[in-house]
Symmetry: C2
Subunit: 418 residues, 2 copies
């Protein structure tokens, strides 16, 4: 007797997964190793920025009051009493009609309260002259004007990217508190699977899902442990999965989640006592995608079909893993676009189509990477987004507005909006 599964909407499936996320602990790592991790503490301005009054230009620092009455006909002369390069401080206070030659980023000397750029001066033997009056504070970057000491600048839960690293370095975060990363087990199931270096033999194909999922994890910076491939043997497969669950924080399997005679994952979930969150999603490809939890560990049962496997990872495993890592923006970014080709086939399930989006003269367009059957294989290697086509009784036409989910973006978004 065939098991009948009830499909649930994609949004509902995502929500069931996200409800079960258990955040991992925090740990301290060095700044150099923090790229791609998620902040487990806010970035706080540990000192004012700038940390001292400084010059935004190469020029001369002087007392504004001395410039009173200066004009083209009445150039006011100043005597230069020294020079302050960036990294140095002036040795003596600036007196009347005195000035320091000062470089961009250097500390304003005591007594001075204005800076004139080189370009606005005329050199003299003792110094320079100026032709206009300056206001107190003119061309001075005051201590604390960019950030006040103690101010929270970036929230916990934010991805650490290149710009974040600049900010952490500014405030001396040699060590930074980040969330731990899950170690994810990857197991490809299927008697038909050969290794990438094996020669093809009749009835078999090479395992492409395992290497792909590992690359999808690597893109998130998530470490993985490979459990290779297993044939469709219930006992052997159960043993590998038991071991993987002991050794890892979450397990991704590919294949074995459908209703064929050798689709053993449903039986394995039952044997393990895992709670199945869903085993049928109203989506194509990947309707058989299954997610189960055993204690605090996820078992992502992705389809053996490579496109379905890819999509299942991006829709379910990705936000769950990012959320375990503390990210407050775990979802794929969303964009709207005009469909660049007809897609005439109506679908009872929401369809996710690998596609290329680009900015064109008529706005953002998205061209499917593989509507034509001849592109079915290569489409997995093309495209920078997924077109989302809701289920319905009619197809879609070129020019229709459709939703896109962007693939491979460094930063995600806070909400699942579709």
């Amino acid at each position: 007797m065939m098991e009948m599964r009830k499909p649930i909407p994609v949004a509902e499936a995502i929500s069931r997964v996200m409800e079960h996320v258990q955040p991992l602990r925090a740990e301290s790592i060095s700044l150099e190793r923090s790229m791609g991790r998620i902040l487990a503490e806010p970035i706080v301005a540990r000192h004012s920025v700038p940390p001292f009054d400084r010059s935004p230009y190469d020029g001369f620092a002087f007392r504004a009051e001395d410039s009173e009455g200066a004009s083209g006909d009445n150039r006011v002369p100043f005597t230069v009493i020294g020079e302050i390069g960036a990294g140095y401080v002036g040795e003596q206070p600036v007196g009347p009609y005195e000035a320091y030659r000062i470089m961009t980023g250097a500390s304003i000397p005591e007594g001075a309260d204005a800076v004139v750029m080189f370009e606005q001066t005329v050199e003299t033997s003792e110094g320079f002259t100026i032709r206009k009056p300056f206001k107190t504070g003119e061309n001075i970057s005051y201590k604390g004007e960019d950030a006040a000491e103690g101010e929270t600048l970036i929230e916990s839960g934010t991805l650490i990217h290149a710009g974040t690293i600049a900010l952490l370095a500014t405030f001396g975060y040699a060590e930074v508190k980040v969330y731990r990363q899950p170690v994810v087990g990857v197991l490809s199931t299927g008697t038909e699977l050969l290794d990438v270096s094996d020669a093809l033999i009749p009835g078999k194909i090479r395992n492409s899902n395992g290497p792909m999922v590992k690359a999808q994890l690597a893109r998130l910076g998530v470490p993985f442990q490979s459990y290779g491939t297993t044939s469709d043997d219930l006992d052997a497969c159960t043993e590998v999965i038991k071991r993987a669950l002991e050794e890892t924080d979450a397990l991704i399997t590919t294949g074995g989640v459908s209703v064929g005679d050798y689709d053993h994952l449903p039986a394995i979930y039952e044997r393990l006592g895992a709670k199945v969150l869903f085993n049928k999603v109203a989506m194509r490809p990947g309707s058989v995608t299954t997610v189960a939890v055993l204690r605090d560990k996820f078992l992502f049962g992705l389809s053996g079909n490579p496109s379905a496997c890819f999509t299942g990872f991006e829709l379910f495993a990705r936000p769950a893993l990012l959320s375990m890592m503390g990210s407050t923006s775990p979802y794929l970014p969303h964009l709207k676009a005009r469909l660049a080709e007809d897609f005439t086939k109506p679908n009872p399930f929401t369809r996710f189509v690998r596609a290329v989006w680009q900015m064109t003269e008529i706005g953002v367009t998205a061209a499917p990477a593989g509507f034509n059957k001849s592109n079915a294989v290569s489409s997995i290697a093309r495209g920078n987004c997924l077109i989302v086509l809701p289920s319905g009784t009619r197809g879609y036409s070129k020019g229709d507005e459709v939703d896109l989910l962007l693939i491979g973006a460094e930063q995600g978004v806070e909400e699942w909006v579709l």
Copy 2:
């Protein structure tokens, strides 16, 4: 006497850089290490896909001709002579009114030319019955229908991402030919620079550009060699740069490219005999960004201002390095958006503003991460794009359409469009 520099447009500066790119050699690496690299060979279908006629469903494989005349009132019975799981082949040919039980992905047995899904059959003691006639080829995925042997599926010069890895694995590319990566030297110049772990002292700031540039390189998968920081000493700085040029394929320096007394990079380029491609770009921040070449090596002289440094890297170093690595899509992706805030200050130079883009009900909007002065520091750690505001005599208003360059996207685009 002040040196007068002539600013050139951003597009012209990019074009001067790209004209000097010398592509690196190719090398072979293992598939597991290929994520993020650029293909130096096309991906060719080394065999047909599917590699054999196969079943797209769990069901029974039989001879279509035997189903002739089947109907609800005249169910045609079949005898099951065996089972074929994925990875196996049928042992004997299928005769009249015989069938194999067959699983998704399994090889169609000799003699059979149609597949019926389990759901469309009624079980009997010897096998099953069907209630409709089948056509030859119904529910069979024919050998080669997705890709024909010898077909070029993905071009050389393409980024290897997770989907690409699936395709490479499918065709047994255990080794893949990719372009070498440049080793890039990173040197921060400035007497004012402290290390991230140093306590602040008067007049000094911590070096944030060095760690940031290394993170920007890491995002591209480019290995780097750090030369730390040097003070603004002409001879010492020249020596470090000479050594770096011997040890690396390209050098990124930060600071020292302006016209201050201690901005020594112009003098160093001259000493080395490097050809300066430009030393003034009509952009803010980063107008002093300088790029020089010495033989086949780039010297990227980025500004010491962190925002300018970041932007200079993304606009000039990034496409040059990706192009050295053979990428045919080295430019930041482009998107148009509505400005979410007024930007009233007119600019004589094109302005690049760190911002956050998002899809909203009124379309894509972009909100600057730091128009307000209080956000000046944190803006470097915020944002997923750069707003590009062309130079002009007026500011911009909320709702104006502006160009964006996306930051942190895995895949770039082929053309610089702005």
